[in-house]
Symmetry: C2
Subunit: 421 residues, 2 copies
């Protein structure tokens, strides 16, 4: 489609969306066992086509090297035999999860005898927009399939051949619901713009990538978008904290894997414990070469800390850098999180039940922790299996999103001829 | 603000949104009894200020008459003593409803000892955009307040003085959470445009009005919008229908109140029952002067029917007009609804349990009925108390939306010092 006119791209995108919609109807009409069986067949298809997938990936890698992609980018693009096996394993894991559809979430019995059941139902068609990793292709297709929805996959241009080979391998197994997995056959940006207008056919958009991608999608989409913006996560060490526990949690939240969205970016310490706690924290993280950017009071205790600027309080470093602020009380801690945080994951360390309750009530974040590391905000750690992201939205789904969050509900009303008076 | 520059309007809108956000935090920190008490005080405030509200309304009415508003518009604008009492009663009804906040929706216990509770939580700040009826002011403020959220109210320009008087009457009672109810003090359209950009402070937009208003809001908003588009509702009379029941339901769905979104717009009849059913339906609706627009086969049975065009199948008449189509089987009925419907409310009349199950599974609408009138799609009929609308979205909330649908959830995680390995 690259060499065709904008109008042609719009027409082809609508054709893709219509096919996906038709596929979604056939998929939704299947029972849970059939869907699970097809997911396992898709896994087997990937294993059987491992050679073809590797070959396609070699072509993408060569083109990527020629185009001068950075080594980190090339590593994300690379599909080893292990990574291909992992894709197949991921599909089988999703197949093994409990089926989300058809569950009755609530039953309302009305005085007139109507029985109103709120039932979990498929979303319909989900557009997944992602960047360089080709394994997202199998992963996203599997999650949408399990959720009873068709997917339209739009991967990065550098992975186009790998993505095509993966989809072909999966589709060999899906028979007449093949329309439920659509790969956009162009990496022209006009196709994304066109797809984001098709709210008549597409029900939800899931962008998987950096904040830039997500904001761009959200701003131009007429279709609701599941957003996962940045994580500026806090750990607040309360005056009533067990300082040993606080140390363990703060070090884990910052240093165990600093490059992810649920890692701590700002440490808040109550003024009555800061004198003791901050030097111990500083010692404990010495081996990690952690750069600390502190408020003035912090720097009085930790002379090696740099001065934090206003910008530091809202920065997601994703690195071995931490901003540190001393607060007068829990109220100031909550105010700081409200003003500077990103409503992702925030923790209090305290032995005071009232302080814990206040913090969990007043901190308006997707996940609020008492005496645990923020690093647990993750689909697998929540027992949700694979995740499509961690929502920082407040509508529809918040926090880790798995298969269930890709579904909707409908009301099914059983009557005996009731009419409205 | 009308005479000020665009930049000033943007600044004032941000100030309003920030005040609302501050108010929402105080409101969310209250307990359920306090919120209910304030709602009752707001009701009393309206009763006490009935005179001032009537006076303000007289000014709006006079201006409206001078501006040449249509009589129907003037009737919507008018506040009689009865309508003012109804506003107060509405607030007390909302106060009496069960509190939606704090309920634990799900508890996940992890092998590492973490207890993850999914807890219903306030949305934050809700922007309500509505048209001429001033009673929406009290109604929307009450629902948002009950849901623990601040509201920013943006009513129609023709009701500006009435809306101001209603908000003043309510705010006299709300003490230090007064910031939780904000009335936009201008009817300049630039204010709406500016507010719809403030996704940092405003969490959700609820437009209450016609499809044009809702589409305009949805297209320019950066904030998620709860949409209730049109209702092109179907009743399908199956081959296995009890025709007496089908007649009662079809007449009720079309004629009891044709001007509302849950009224039937298209009747689908199985070919094996059409010969008997359609003439009886025609007889039964004769007194209603119903205009029928039918497919060819329908016109062979009902010679008085006009010919339906393609446009008829997607038209929400909101009037004594009905499109009628004869279908070969349930599959064709479902296909028709999928192709032409609006995913609002659709019904099957059948004694065949398998047909009912197929219909409720495959019809992708917010509410799907078996042997009952589509007219029950309504907050009160669902036992939800007052409603803010009937969502035709699939994300977040579907069908009738009451207080609960104005809330979100958060995960509250209780640990004992757990860290991620």
């Amino acid at each position: 489609m690259n060499d065709r006119s904008g109008q042609n791209i719009e027409q082809e995108c609508e054709a893709i969306a219509r096919r996906a919609r038709a596929g979604s109807r056939r998929l939704a009409a299947m029972d849970a066992d059939e869907r699970a069986k097809l997911l396992r067949a898709m896994a087997a298809g990937i294993e059987k086509s491992a050679g073809a997938i590797e070959q396609a990936n070699r072509a993408d890698m060569e083109a990527g090297k020629k185009a001068g992609l950075a080594p980190a980018m090339l590593d994300r693009l690379l599909l080893t035999p292990e990574r291909i096996s992992a894709m197949a394993r991921g599909l089988r894991d999703v197949a093994d999860q409990p089926d989300p559809l058809g569950a009755t979430l609530e039953t309302i019995r009305r005085p007139n005898g109507l029985e109103i059941r709120k039932v979990r139902a498929p979303m319909g068609v989900i557009l997944v927009i992602y960047e360089s990793r080709p394994n997202v292709t199998a992963d996203a297709a599997g999650l949408c399939f399990k959720a009873g929805s068709a997917c339209i996959l739009r991967g990065g241009s550098e992975a186009a051949q790998s993505n095509r080979a993966i989809v072909d391998a999966m589709l060999g197994a899906t028979g007449d619901v093949g329309d439920a997995v659509q790969l956009v056959p162009t990496t022209d940006r006009a196709a994304v713009r066109a797809l984001l207008q098709l709210d008549q056919w597409i029900d939800m958009v899931v962008p998987r990538g950096g904040e830039g991608l997500i904001r761009a999608v959200a701003e131009s989409s007429r279709i609701p978008v599941l957003k996962h913006y940045k994580g500026v996560c806090h750990v607040y060490v309360d005056e009533a904290a067990d300082l040993e526990m606080a140390l363990r949690i703060a070090v884990n939240a910052k240093c165990q894997r600093p490059g992810v969205c649920n890692a701590m970016e700002t440490l808040l310490a109550h003024r009555d414990v800061a004198d003791v706690f901050l030097p111990r924290f500083f010692e404990a993280t010495r081996g990690h070469k952690l750069e600390i950017r502190g408020c003035e009071r912090t720097r009085a205790i930790l002379p090696d800390a740099k001065a934090a600027t206003d910008e530091d309080w809202t920065t997601e470093y994703l690195d071995m850098i931490l901003s540190v602020r001393i607060v007068d009380d829990i109220e100031q801690a909550i105010d700081h999180i409200e003003t500077h945080g990103s409503r992702h994951s925030d923790a209090i360390v305290t032995e005071d039940a009232q302080a814990a309750e206040r913090f969990t009530r007043d901190v308006d974040s997707a996940t609020v922790y008492v005496n645990a590391s923020t690093r647990f905000t993750d689909g697998a750690e929540f027992g949700k299996g694979a995740e499509v992201g961690i929502s920082t939205d407040k509508l529809h789904a918040r926090g880790p999103c798995g298969v269930e969050e890709l579904t909707t509900y409908k009301y099914v009303i059983q009557g005996r001829g009731q009419i409205r008076e």
